[in-house]
């Protein structure tokens, strides 16, 4: 097969997105907040629509700000419902994200003639159009696909965030109370992580859609978690899985002529379920009886 530049760009961008999501997803999973990630990725929708409407284009900073605000707002509403209104956590999550998502869909329908944004794009994304969505400078010089730049920027920010706060994230994920005792602002770190998740959701939703972002946030870390017990190898494995999903997903989608993002998730799902199956039938005598030790669980 000859080198296909478009295929390379799509796979490259998809890998970047799934690595960014996976990196954040690892910490979300360890904090048992995977469903909060799900909630945030739904809840940013009204922010995206409003930002879209205000700025008139999807390139505006307003979109990212709007989505960021909504993501944090969703976290705060969930906390408020849980702590102040005493609604149980799962119901708080369920009520918050469905309401915000519903408002987003209603806004899209009401502004359908004014914004170039439809339900399908929000839900599934379309990474296949990436090579023709170019970033053209004022001088008329084409710089290459816009979404790839967004993905690079996103990955850089996520990596810097995790690199700088690695110790804090690590500590508060495993033992929040100990973190509080030694003086870490656990609440602020949590909010910062949620902001990063919202930002990643926004910068990825055009490519993979609001719901499939969840899959990239959750599935690679969950799969890696089945294979390893160390945080560093968990992160490495998650990144590797992200790249594998992007490559396989692209070619599978090419084969059956279907959505690339959807296929990436489907591949991830097969790897995940396969891993779970293999791990569950693997006889203990290969690795001794180490399965009874569960150091990653609180």
């Amino acid at each position: 097969m000859s080198f296909d530049q478009n295929a390379f760009l799509i796979i490259f961008t998809a890998s970047l997105i799934s690595i960014s999501c996976g990196l954040l997803g690892v910490f979300m999973m360890l904090r048992k907040m995977s469903m909060t990630g799900d909630a945030i990725s739904h809840a940013v929708l009204p922010g995206i629509v409003i930002g879209f409407f205000v700025s008139g284009s999807q390139r505006g900073l307003e979109v990212i700000i709007g989505a960021g605000i909504l993501g944090i707002l969703a976290t705060l509403i969930i906390d408020w419902l849980k702590n102040k209104a005493k609604v149980q956590l799962d119901a708080s999550i369920g009520i918050t994200f469905t309401l915000l998502f519903a408002i987003g869909i209603i806004l899209i329908n009401m502004l359908a003639y004014k914004v170039d944004l439809d339900q399908e794009c929000v839900l599934y994304g379309e990474i296949a159009y990436l090579p023709i969505d170019l970033w053209i400078t004022d001088a008329g010089f084409s710089m290459g696909p816009r979404i790839t730049y967004l993905a690079v920027l996103n990955l850089v920010l996520v990596s810097v965030f995790i690199f700088l706060l690695y110790k804090e994230l690590n500590l508060t994920s495993f033992d929040e109370n100990f973190g509080l005792v030694i003086g870490l602002p656990a609440g602020a770190i949590n909010l910062a992580l949620m902001s990063m998740v919202s930002y990643t959701t926004v910068s990825s939703f055009e490519a993979v859609g609001a719901i499939l972002v969840v899959a990239l946030l959750v599935v690679p870390p969950a799969t890696a978690f089945l294979w390893t017990k160390k945080l560093t190898s968990l992160i490495k494995l998650t990144c590797a899985l992200g790249i594998f999903i992007a490559i396989t997903g692209y070619y599978m989608a090419y084969l059956v002529d279907s959505s690339i993002a959807g296929m990436m998730v489907a591949v991830g799902g097969i790897v995940f379920l396969g891993s779970a199956f293999v791990k569950s039938i693997k006889p203990n005598w290969i690795f001794g009886t180490s399965t009874s030790i569960k150091p990653l669980e609180n």
């Binding site: 469903m35 209104a85 519903a102 296929m263 990653l296």
Partner: protein, 430 residues
């Protein structure tokens, strides 16, 4: 307005069908959802509702059209597979519940999107009908759909009502049920089947993405109004049915608007109104109750302070001295004194505070409760006299007259508390 009349007078029989359909499936989903909410498994419903998408698409591909039987069967099977995988992963891996649910949800939805795009690219003209399952379109419920969806909803409602005892045992105390010989595994299986059925029929009106709201919100909202299971189910059903009808009405008036989001918005309105304004459990009434309690305790403490002063031989109490006894709380103290003056418990004469007779008996009552409780702790709990004060300080505000009578009786109308201070009675002289 004419739209309103047209819709709600059911001149058009198809609207009557839609309203009947949405009421039935709203009530059915709310019933199942309330049980799963009580079981603290509310998000499993979210996972199932996303997971039915591939089943719907497969059903559509096999039938080649929007055939309700194929679609319901497909949706049911993929929902069942998702439920099974969720519990299998839970017992066979170390993953936490939320990671499992989020994974299953997104993986199945991913498969669904793949199939959906495959159908889209096949160019089947019936395709448009399939999009309704994403966000729901209750107006599209036809008469023949109604027999299937409505029938299933009635089946759900009847099963849950007939086996209410078994299902409440499942959600409240499954171990107890098992120990007295009920087949809890089978009951759980039936419940999961009902849950999947509720999702399958609900997506017609709400869509797969937002179906979770129809399962979670009614139960969560109704929980703020009552502690009784029967009433809880009725209120949840009512919330759900009313929101369903309102949402359908909006999407009837604005044709391009999907039903689901509006139903969710109305449901959330009910839910948030309940969280804020429900009597007893609502945020507002708990806030007011707390304020009232704090005010009452401050009043009690103030009366007690004056009583202690009089007891130690003072004849009158300067108001400044009261302020000094509650440092940094002058404003609150002043407010409380005003209140007590208004309710005729204290009198203020040239800066000197004194009891009215009503105030004196109230102060005696508080001091009496305090000392009775101290004595009770000391005599019956064998707690040392120097350790009983803190508990009495809390209990003096909440002991009822009935408890007071019981304490008096049990302690045989004592004269002195553990610190050898007199326990004041109403007709004692001070």
């Amino acid at each position: 307005m004419s739209d309103f009349l047209y819709f709600f007078t059911f001149q058009d029989s198809s609207i009557a069908f839609v309203v009947i359909g949405i009421t039935l499936l709203g009530i059915g989903s709310a019933y199942v959802g309330t049980y799963s909410f009580l079981d603290k498994k509310a998000l499993l419903g979210d996972a199932i509702s996303h997971a039915v998408l591939p089943g719907i698409c497969l059903g559509f591909m096999l039938a080649g059209e929007k055939n309700p039987i194929y679609i319901v069967t497909g949706a049911f099977l993929s929902g069942a597979l998702a439920t099974f995988l969720t519990s299998w992963l839970k017992s066979n891996t170390r993953l936490s519940d939320d990671a499992i649910i989020a994974s299953i949800l997104s993986i199945f939805f991913g498969f669904g999107v793949v199939l959906l795009t495959v159908i889209q690219k096949s160019g089947n003209p019936e395709m448009a009908g399939l999009n309704q399952f994403i966000f729901g379109n209750a107006i599209a419920i036809l008469e023949e759909d109604l027999y299937i969806y409505g029938g299933l909803a009635i089946l759900i409602i009847i099963t849950l009502t007939a086996f209410r005892k078994e299902f409440s045992m499942l959600v409240f105390n499954a171990d107890f049920g098992k120990s007295i010989g009920y087949p809890m595994g089978a009951i759980r299986l039936v419940f999961n089947v009902l849950m999947i059925l509720a999702v399958v029929i609900g997506i017609q009106a709400i869509g797969v993405v937002l179906m979770a709201a129809l399962l979670i919100a009614p139960g969560a909202a109704a929980r703020f109004w009552t502690d009784k299971l029967g009433k809880l189910l009725l209120i949840a059903g009512a919330f759900s049915a009313v929101s369903g009808i309102l949402g359908t009405y909006v999407s009837f008036v604005i044709p391009q608007m999907p039903t689901g989001p509006w139903v969710v918005v109305f449901l959330s309105l009910f839910a948030f109104a309940s969280f804020l304004f429900a009597p007893k459990k609502g945020v507002l009434s708990r806030f007011i109750a707390r304020k009232y309690y704090l005010k009452k305790t401050h009043q009690d403490h103030l009366l007690k302070l004056i009583y202690h002063g009089l007891e130690s031989g003072k004849n009158s109490f300067p108001i400044e001295e009261i302020y000094e006894s509650f440092p940094y709380r002058k404003r609150q103290t002043k407010h409380t004194i005003d209140e007590l003056l208004k309710t005729d418990l204290l009198t203020l004469n040239q800066g000197l505070i004194d009891f009215t007779s009503k105030g004196k008996s109230e102060a005696k009552r508080i001091v009496r409760l305090h000392r009775l409780w101290e004595l009770y702790l000391n005599e019956y709990m064998n707690i040392a006299p120097d350790h009983v004060h803190d508990s009495a300080e809390k209990l003096e505000h909440i002991l009822t007259p009935e408890l007071e009578a019981l304490l008096e009786n049990r302690l045989n109308y004592p004269k002195l508390d553990p610190h050898q201070e007199a326990i004041p009675r109403d007709n004692d002289e001070l």
